[in-house]
């Protein structure tokens, strides 16, 4: 579904990603972990199409197409979704209007009929309930005045509405208390399907207790230095990221 090959990315001449490889198959959850500044969020931003990054080498294909050639909105319509680490406030635009525009843009792209206002509202209420969000939020401006937890929950709600085939969660757990974390994780788990892939970017192992990954990758200094199953995340929790400087062998030694 998503193939990242030897991706090298720089910002203002400074290399951030220095050859990242990632292969996400439908139905799988990949966790990307790493210390601050390792390039995790850059990876998420580049995949979603944010401007300001220079792609120096490598390629990314999404469902067999060149992802990097697509405008951000086309990526979304093709089924890519990024849950933002810092969801943006958009004063003056209600959540309802915003999501309906988004959903209908995606539906048009897929050759589906636009969803009428009434149907949309029913659909939204159905998706919003399990996330513990007050439906009144739909009438509020996008993310405006939302607490950190509300914003993150709302990202998951949007994901549920837009039904992507690949969801990237960028530090969705940061700033969440344990109760909110559980709600958000439950929401994400409810969206796991055989034809949907996830890339879960996180600094902490804690989230992965609730969203159990199939693969765990460790990103450090712009490259993936270690990949493994979920036990890798547990080791990271135990040993921290300090071993990276000494190379993967030291972690391997520690794991023994």
């Amino acid at each position: 579904m998503l193939q990242v090959n030897s991706l090298r990315v720089s910002v203002d001449g400074k290399q951030i990603l220095s050859g990242v490889d990632l292969d996400v198959q439908p139905g799988t959850v990949h966790a990307v972990m790493g210390p601050n500044g390792s390039g995790k969020s850059t990876l998420a931003s580049v995949l979603a199409g944010r401007e300001g990054y220079s792609i120096d080498a490598g390629s990314v294909t999404f469902k067999g197409q060149d992802l990097l050639e697509m405008a951000p909105e086309v990526r979304a319509r093709e089924g890519l979704f990024l849950a933002f680490q810092y969801p943006v406030e958009v004063p003056g635009v209600t959540m309802m209007y915003f999501l309906r525009e988004a959903l209908n843009a995606i539906r048009r792209h897929r050759g589906l009929e636009e969803m009428a206002a009434g149907d949309f509202l029913r659909f939204a209420r159905q998706k919003i309930g399990p996330l513990g969000i007050d439906p009144g939020m739909l009438k509020r401006a996008v993310n405006e005045g939302f607490s950190g937890g509300e914003k993150k929950r709302c990202e998951v709600f949007q994901m549920a509405m837009l039904e992507p085939s690949l969801a990237i969660l960028d530090e969705t757990d940061s700033g969440l208390d344990i109760d909110a974390l559980k709600v958000v994780s439950k929401g994400v788990n409810g969206l796991r399907r055989a034809d949907r892939g996830f890339v879960v970017i996180t600094h902490y192992q804690r989230l992965l207790e609730y969203i159990v990954p199939d693969r765990v990758h460790v990103l450090a200094d712009g490259r993936i230095v270690e990949s493994g199953d979920r036990t890798l995340a547990l080791d990271l929790e135990r040993h921290g990221y300090g071993w990276i400087a000494e190379g993967p062998a030291s972690l391997a030694a520690a794991r023994l």
Partner: protein, 425 residues
Amino acid sequence: MAAVIQHASPYLERFGARAAVSGTEPRWLSERRELALERFLRLGVPTSRDEEYKYTDLRRLSDGRLLLGPVSMGNAREPAHLSGQAVAARAGDGMALASEPRAGVSVRSISEALANDDGWLRAHLASIAGFEGHALCALNTALFEDGVVIRAQRGADCPEPIHLAFGAGNLARHARVLIVAERGSRVRVVETYASRGTYWRNAVTEIHAGENARVDHVRAQLESEDAFHTGVVQAEQRRDSRVTSFSLSFGALVARNDIGTRLGGTGCDCALDGLYAVRGRQLVDHHTGIDHAMPHCHSHQLYKGVLDGRARGVFNGKIFVRQDAQKTDAVQSNKNLLLSDSAEVNTKPQLEIDANDVKCTHGATVGQLDADAEFYLRSRGIGAREARHLLTYAFAADALDRVCVPSLRDHFEALLMARFTPGVG
């Protein structure tokens, strides 16, 4: 002002021609007009040498050709949204309007009102909008051929908007309106200015809000983008009255609006709001003035501007708080959105406060579309163009919400959206 003396004769000719036609005018009005002409000839058409016109030089209008010459205006499409709503008074070439939308509320031409005047008109017409120091107001006062008088008698209530559509024609070029809301009455007036071609329109509206009266005034300037529009709205308020003004300015190559009110009694409330949206080489200039002359009055101002291309915007908001005006509460805000790198705004609050127990806040911002918000919208599948549209609309929404007539608000919103096809980022 050499520029004007040089070009005085066309104005004098027009004044003479006008006076010949309206020869039956009462003496008090003729006297005011003569005084006004004299003031205009002394002050001249404003240039950037005048601090009040620093960014809006009208020198090129000084020969009066575009105001006084043969009519070069065409009919523009009428705003359809208002048809069927109350009175649609066409203040165009002819001035055949006489109606009573509600008991106690009359809409008449000035000439008719003068013919039936019992001395009432004298207290208001050409006395609210001072022309002593205002050349363009003086010019209109000297030259207006006819106009509209709206009078709401004591206690009369007319919630339906009275629509005055100023289109093409000589008479509409010197558009003149007087709105008098007597004690406890309520009236809503919408003025639209729209035409085609290259011309100069110079309009004046005077508003009197009596004790406990309410006047809602909407002014939609949708002139041809080759035109020049100068306009004055001046209100005077008695105690416990409320005046709201909304100034929409989308048209004209150069537009200058002077909008003010004098809070002349305790407990007055006023809201001067507006939205301007310009593009290309348009210039829009709003000068507002609120005179807090008495205590316990509240004023609120929200002006928003959207500027594209090489357009320029000017906002100057004066608030005077006189010595007696304790417990004044004045809020002023001017926010601007620049859609292009070449657009420009000059915004300036001007507060003169002589009282010591007052609350006055003001703020001005000039910004561009939020790139993060744009990316956020696009990352959900919304196209680049739609995203910019949506953000532009969102920017203007709270200003539009201050338009008191819902159907008009929607119409203005549609006009705004149609004006801008922001470049794909």
